[in-house]
Structures are given as C-alpha cells and as structure tokens.
Amino acid sequence: MLIHALCFYLFAAILVASAVMVIAARNPVHSVLFLILGFFNAAGLFVLMGAEFLAMILVVVYVGAVAVLFLFVVMMLDVDFAALRSGFLRYLPIGGLIGLILLAELALIVGAWSFAPEAASASQLPIPDPSQISNTHALGLILYTDYVYAFQMSGLILLVAMVGAIVLTLREREGVRRQDVSRQINRTREQSIEVVKVPTRGGV
C-alpha cells in the first residue's frame, strides 16, 4: 500500500511539474519533450487505477502520434514563438479575469454538487468487476456492439478530416522529386554508369 501511495505521489508530482514546464520552457522543443514526459506519468497514474488499456492508449496515441507530430511541426515550421507570446501580458488581465470567473463558477457547482438519486442505476452499462475481466476485453465487448454507431461515426469524422486536409493543402509544386518505382526498376546499367578512364595525375 505504501509503495502504491509512493508511486502515486511520484507520478503526480512529475506530471504537474512537467505540465508547468510545458508552458514555462523557452524552447518549444523542450516543451514538447516535457509534454511527452507528462503523458508517460499520466499513463502511470492510469495503471495505478487499474485502467491499463487507457494507459496503453495514452502512450501509443499521444506519445506515439501526437507528440511526434508536434515535434515535427515545431522543428519543421518556422514558428516564431516569441512573437506568439508577445501579447501575453497585455491579455493577461482579461484572460485571468475570465479564468477566475470560471473557477468561481466551478467552485460553486462543485460545492453544491448533488447526484440524481437514480444516477447509479441509470447508467446504461454497469461497470464490470475488474477482477473478472480485463479492461481491454470489457471495452472490446461493448465497442463493436452497443457503441458501434458512435464508433462508425467517429470513423466518418476522421475520414472527413483527412479529405479536408488534402483538399485544403495538397498543391502542385515545381521541382519536387518524386519516386517513380517503374523508372527505378527499368534503369539499365548503360543509363546509370559511365566508365571513365582517369588519366594519372589528371583528375576527372
């Protein structure tokens, strides 16, 4: 139990610290690296709660795809982050005010929070006993049955996102060297290699 608690505080502390560093780091590449560290620690917290599937997804999807994509964007696009941050102080008062109002509202709701008496029984799908069935198995059982509609709709949304990205950004550019497999295969030795007799001390 002690180890459990220790692990929790370790993961939680690193998670919060790296989250702070994400917004505090000057170098955007460092920010993304701290983001990845944060994801790993959040995954650790999920494992502690017995949600191993979510932990895996977090690492695979967020670290594997999103963070790498972020890194690519940060490294390949020349985004001037200093300029992006320049308005920070100017907008801080109004942003802070809105944040405070939202926080106060949240506190108000949480303070007076109540559940509907039927809330527990109303949930359509009761949570299965984790000692009987693994996360992945339990999710798999409902994902393609009860939630097949939501699953397929999400697929359609991703398709639209893909079509949209191609429609809006695919452009013809001059001077792009494309790979042409048939040309590569059809090349003969004569086309590619030239035997040159190099005279001694003459150079090519």
Binding site: E118, A119, A122, Y149, L159, V163
Partner: protein, 497 residues
C-alpha cells in the same frame, strides 16, 4: 428485431448516404485527373470530374430523400438507444436533404466559373448531410455530439474551399476556431449533465430530470445553460452570432447558400429536440434562456442589417433574425409551438434558396458582384430575376399572402396562446424594422437608375430551382395543408414519448 439482433432499417438512409458518399469519393479520385494534374488547383479535367460527381451526389440525395419518406413514422430506437427515427426526424431530414440538393445544384456553375470546381465539394456536402441527419436523429448526448461534429468539420472545410482566396480561408479559420469553442461549451455542459444524471441517453435524462424538476439542482441547470449556449452557437442566434457575418461574407456564395439552409434547419431541429425531449420537464428554466436569445436575435437581425452594403452580409443578419423568429415557437414549448418552428424553417428554406439563386446570378463580365447597389434597376434589365427577388424580400419581411407571413403567423400564434405577449409584440415590431432593409432592396431594383445588366444566360438548372422555390414562396397560401399537416405530425411525435 431479436433481443441481441441489430435492426438497421431506421438508419438505412444514413447508411446509404454515408456509403454512397464514400463511393463518390472513390469515383472522384479514380476517374479524375491523375498525378501532377490532380494536385493542381484547377484544370478543365477537374471541372468535368466535379460536374459528374456533383450530379451523382444530387442523385444520391434524391434517392435518400425517397428512402426517408418511405420510413415508418412510428418511433423506433436502435443502436442501443443512440439513434431514433420518428416523424420529427423524418420531417427534418427531408428538409435537410432538399436544402443540400438544391444548394448543390446552385453550386455547379458557380464553382466552374470561379475555377474552384473540384469533386471533393460534393463529397464534403454529402458527409455534412449525413452529419445533419445524425443530429436530428440523435437520442443520446454522444450521438448528438458526433453528428454535430461530422457536420461542422465538413462545413469548416467547405467554408475555406476557395483556398487561394484570403477571405475564404479567413472565413474557414474563423468558423473553425469559434465552432471548436462552441463544441467545447456543449461538451462541458454535456459532461455536467452526465455527472449529475449518470446517463447520456435522452429518455434516461428525461426520466431523471422529470423527477428533479421541482427543485432542479445547480449542476444540472449549469449543464443545461452550457448545452443551450453551444447549440445557440450552432444555429447562430444572438449573442452567439459573431461568426456569422464574416463567415457568410467570406465563404464562396454557394457555400453561404448551403450554410444558411441545411445546417440551420438541422441545428434548429436538434435544439428543439434537446429542449423538449430530455429537458422538457425543465421548461420553467430554459424558456427564459430561449426567450432572451430569441429577442436578441430578432433585434440584432433587424437593426444590424440596416447599414449593410454587401448582400451576403445582409443575408447573414437576416438569417440571425429568422432564427430568432423560429425560436419564438420554441419558447412556447408546446406542440403548436414546435409545429410553428418546423413550418418556419421549411418556409425559410425555400425563401433563402431562391434569394441565393438570385445572388448567384449577380455577375458582370464573368465576375461576381455582391453589393446591394449592383442590383439597381434590375427590374428593367432582368424583370423576371427582379420579380423573384422581390417575392423573396416581401416574403422575408412577412407581408401577406406570401409564405413568410405564414411562417411568422404560426410561431406568433402559439406564443400569444401561451401568454408570451411581450415576445410576440417585440417580434412584430422587429419584423417591421427589418421590412425596411428588405423593401430597400426592392426599391433599389425597381426605382433606381439601371446599372449594367448581369451576365446571361443563368443556366437551366438554376432557372428551374429559382422558379420552383420562388413560386413556392408566392403560392404557398393556395394549398398550405400538406406542409402544415406534416409539421403537425412531426411536432406531435416529439410530445408523444
């Protein structure tokens, strides 16, 4: 349907349209220009490909409309309670399909002229239509959000479809950012509601809300407020309308025409369903929200439009105003009120399509013009076009016996019957104010010095759409029974459960 068996029949139109859309995507990609030409912004091969895919898409929409009209009007719930098909959803779906098909027809020639004809346009409109159909058939907060997002994402892309134009790109980006914000608010509200009730399904929520209605807890009301704010964003009702004028002005005109009909109808229908079905018992709480939104929208639509010089911006403010009138019916919150909302959006569809058909005809020497002054003297140069626009403008300002008058009549009557006199009076007053700028358009067309004529010819398909919609607007009063009857059946379905 067996205990564990799947019954797909009620969702058959959505499935058909989604699969059809993917097929068209394939056809467009494999039959269109290949290689380097495919990546070019425009080429004649793109236009030919786009034309055939668009006509196929229109065919798909028409077939889907037939499938929808063949659906049984009894309420049937499938996909583990996520999807519902009833008379209400069928009515809304028919309007949505009609709106999408008509605006696709309007888009064909324009897209070719403006060299932005690419087949993805039709495919994206199809997917947006699937999203809208999913919205009006949502029976769960999850399916509501998924439908909304499928629709919105497609709309963001088509708003920026003329990707070499700064205005269009700006419109797409603005719409995207504000749309994401509104989705965030909606999700926040949905999570609060779920946190309180422990369920996301509409019938489940309705049962719990009915139990708690006497002393509604704070968390639930907060959730309700955020959900309604998110939905008000999507219907572009004031004070959540900021994106509308810029997006309407910046988007290519056929996209604006599409925005102003199909997504509006879908979002309004969704708004009505969410307020009546899961939160019906909280009517005492939400009617005030809708009341304020409705008055603000009507007022803003009337006053902010006065100074506009661009006809697309004018139509944006006019659409905000019209949403305000439609929401008057929702405030009364009973069966006749909902019937009024449905009738209103149906009539609005025809008026708006006709108006945009005229706007799409506004071009000189192959270039589109958008200023209201460009219409001056249209009555002498193109009398039929001027007559069609005049019908629409009279109808939108609510002058009897045109269709728009009946739309307003059927939302104000239930409001008066339910005792919302103030709302009805404000509605009538704002519609008098808005008559000023609608009639100004008529005055410019009929009494001002003629400007050079617009380009001719305007295309057969366009003529048919324009003639059909404006004749509907003109002659609706002769035989209004079918629309009113259908709307009544649809409204009754919402209150049956």
């Amino acid at each position: 349907m067996g205990e564990n068996g799947f019954n797909f029949m009620p969702a058959w139109p959505e499935l058909f349209l989604a699969v059809g859309g993917m097929l068209l995507l394939m056809i467009g990609v494999f039959r269109g220009p290949k290689g380097r030409e495919a990546a070019a912004t425009w080429s004649p091969a793109h236009a030919i490909n786009a034309r055939s895919v668009t006509w196929l898409a229109i065919g798909l929409l028409v077939i889907t409309a037939f499938i929808v009209s063949g659906q049984p009007i009894e309420r049937s719930v499938i996909f583990a309670g996520m999807f519902v098909s009833d008379a209400f959803s069928i009515f809304a779906k028919l309007l949505i399909l009609l709106g999408s098909a008509l605006t696709l027809i309007l888009a064909i020639d324009y897209n070719e002229r403006e060299q932005m004809a690419r087949f993805e346009y039709a495919v994206l409109i199809l997917f947006a239509t699937v999203g809208m159909m999913a919205m009006v058939s949502a029976n769960d907060l999850i399916s509501l959000y998924l439908g909304l997002e499928l629709q919105s994402l497609s709309l963001y892309v088509v708003a920026a479809f003329r990707r070499d134009s700064l205005q269009s790109t700006e419109a797409g980006l603005k719409y995207f950012v504000l749309g994401a914000l509104s989705s965030g608010m909606l999700l926040y509200g949905a999570s609060l509601v779920y946190g309180f009730a422990g369920t996301t399904s509409f019938p489940g929520l309705a049962a719990i809300v009915a139990d708690q209605a006497a002393e509604a807890p704070l968390g639930l009301i907060f959730g309700l407020v955020f959900v309604s704010a998110g939905l008000a964003f999507k219907v572009a009702a004031a004070p959540f309308h900021m994106w509308t004028p810029d997006v309407y002005e910046g988007s290519p005109t056929p996209v604006t025409a599409f925005f102003s009909v199909a997504p509006k109808i879908a979002a309004t229908a969704l708004f009505v369903r969410v307020m009546i079905e899961p939160f019906g018992a909280l009517g005492d709480q939400w009617w005030q929200i809708i009341w304020v939104i409705s008055i603000l929208s009507m007022g803003l639509g009337a006053f902010a439009a006065i100074n506009q010089t661009n006809i697309k911006r004018l139509m944006a403010y006019s659409s905000i105003g019209h949403i305000g009138y439609a929401l008057v019916g929702l405030v009364s919150g009973d069966e006749t009120g909902v019937r009024g909302v449905l009738t209103y959006v149906a009539i609005y569809l025809f008026m708006n399509v006709a108006t945009f058909a005229v706007i799409l005809c506004m071009r000189r020497q192959g270039k589109s013009v958008e200023r209201i002054d460009d219409l001056s003297g249209l009555a002498t140069t193109q009398p039929l076009l001027a007559a069609a626009l005049a019908i629409c403008m009279f109808s939108m300002s609510g002058i009897p016996p045109l269709a728009g008058f009946f739309g307003k009549l059927y939302v104000f009557l239930p409001a008066i019957a339910a005792g919302y006199y103030g709302l009805a009076v404000i509605g009538v007053l704002t519609s008098v104010v808005s008559a000023f700028y609608y009639l100004r358009v008529v005055k410019i067309m009929y009494f001002d010095e003629p400007a050079p004529a617009f380009d001719q010819p305007i295309g057969t398909a366009m003529c048919i759409v324009l003639a059909g919609t404006s004749l509907f607007t003109l002659l609706f009063f002769v035989y209004p029974a079918p629309l009113l009857g259908a709307a009544a059946v649809a409204a009754a379905a919402l209150f049956a459960g």
